[in-house]
Subunit: 301 residues, 2 copies
């Protein structure tokens, strides 16, 4: 069935205690697309400048990602630079140059307005809303956001959320959006805002899914070698939506499996800089980690 | 088979955003004993002053807890006072009066030196070590500690840990003891220090168990009404050790079940002040939450 993603394509400069990457391929739509490409057809809508390296374009193509919607406009590609501290949970953004991303007005190519699975990566909720107006009748829309929009554009975000089926956000965003420190209560409160499912990403603590029927607690993959957490959340979303789009099954039990596939893709993503952990996977690598997560969370009654 | 616990019995004054308790029954050995008493026979070794209310003694007896080892010595019972902030993860200790606990030298009553299951609650690691010298040949020893001892008495703690089978600690303690921010690596490093099993308590994020065979990730019980987190970790340990002692089975699959019973008892504990959430449970209440945790963490391959 395929999945449509709208978000950022960027060049990231990242410093972690384990190394440095300069102008590496990054951006929410990038991590999402690469992760999802192991499951289904992916169409990417984003914007870059003429400075965006051709090798990255070639890489998207090599992963079978449809880049009809990746427009090149005059200006510089979005650049982000960040430094991670010793425990990798602290991240300082040291530079953000929006470049052409500042004027991004997503236009969904004609061939993709019928997309059944749509992911609104973390961009201005007004732009997320404009994407929802362009797509015809999606079967499932998932959406990410961040504290910046919760603080600054809450009304637009709430409006967009009315058209969203699955909110995918991290735990601090969830608490902030709901104004409630208890994560269980906060997730339930977000269900009242429109989505039928909330997936809370908790990094090393796994993920928590909340629906009207109750909760699903997913383990984290036990990663001993976390090298660069950048893009983990978008890789999670890519595995999650990729599995749903590949199967076309939006039942609760299949959404639970999708959370596990998201967890698997995030685990590969954090093991190397940029998307390097997701460039040469086999489907069997993914299935092996899926089974490992089953084993890690199993107990007998 | 029964379980022996050595730790503190205290009077706690606690303020949370939801209410206040003054001189309520508290202490690590208290929470542990009450939780474990739903599973097996419990013998408690601790010290109090003559000011310790008789109603609490009666309560221990009503739960079938053996208090032969609860000595009363001249002085004041250990008192602790703390305040929790809005998100219940921040706790400020506002007063600690050790009283008779300062001179506590645990003496294991003759009838309990043959105990097969022993829990060393969070006290000076030298005293924990003296308990290990007094017990004959336990089948399984579990041990808790805290940052205060990791900072101040690391050598004694390391010595004690050589006689411990299961370390039960929270995530920040685990990282600090190992000097490693990656929790997965940190848990493995603690295995090198003697224990065969490390159980990391992560509060609202559940628990992580590490053995030579790998990891077990246990979900948290989805508590919407956390009222007072005091004693959650000791209640967890009580459910954990209570189940192991009741079954006498120390296989990995049974230790996984014990982690779930620990999670269940912690969930009851935090729903009310002091041990009030664990005074009138039925075994069926416990089993219902056990099954709920199975459902919460289940996914199909």
């Amino acid at each position: 069935m395929g999945v449509l993603v709208v978000g950022s394509v960027a060049l990231d400069s990242v410093k972690t205690p384990f190394g440095v990457a300069e102008d590496a391929l990054g951006g929410s739509a990038t991590f999402f697309s690469v992760a999802a490409s192991y499951f289904t057809d992916v169409a990417l809508v984003a914007v870059v400048g003429p400075d965006f390296p051709k090798e990255h374009i070639d890489f998207f193509r090599s992963r079978g990602i449809d880049i009809t919607g990746l427009t090149v406009v005059e200006g510089k590609t979005f650049r982000w630079a960040g430094v991670y501290g010793f425990d990798l949970n602290d991240r300082d953004t040291i530079d953000t140059q929006l470049g052409v991303f500042e004027g991004f007005r997503p236009s969904i190519p004609k061939g993709h307005v019928e997309s059944e699975f749509v992911f609104l990566a973390n961009i201005d909720p007004e732009l997320q809303g404009s994407v929802l107006e362009q797509v015809a009748n999606p079967k499932l829309v998932a959406c990410d956001t961040m504290n910046f929009w919760i603080d600054g554009k809450k009304a637009a975000l709430m409006q967009t959320m009315r058209g969203v089926d699955v909110m995918i956000m991290n735990d601090s965003e969830c608490r902030e959006l709901a104004g409630e420190p208890n994560l269980i209560k906060a997730a339930r409160m977000i269900l009242e805002m429109g989505p039928t499912t909330v997936v809370v990403k908790k990094g090393e603590h796994g993920a928590l899914m909340c629906t009207a029927d109750g909760f699903f607690s997913a383990p984290a993959y036990p990663c001993e070698s976390v090298f660069d957490p950048t893009g983990a959340g978008d890789s999670f979303a890519g595995g999650f939506m990729g599995h749903l789009a590949a199967t076309g099954d939006t039942s609760e039990s299949n959404i639970r499996r999708a959370v596990i596939y998201g967890t698997v893709m995030a685990s590969f993503s954090v093991e190397q800089f940029s998307v390097d952990g997701m460039t040469r996977l086999e489907r069997s690598d993914i299935e092996r980690r899926f089974r490992m997560l089953k084993q890690v969370s199993h107990f007998e009654p």
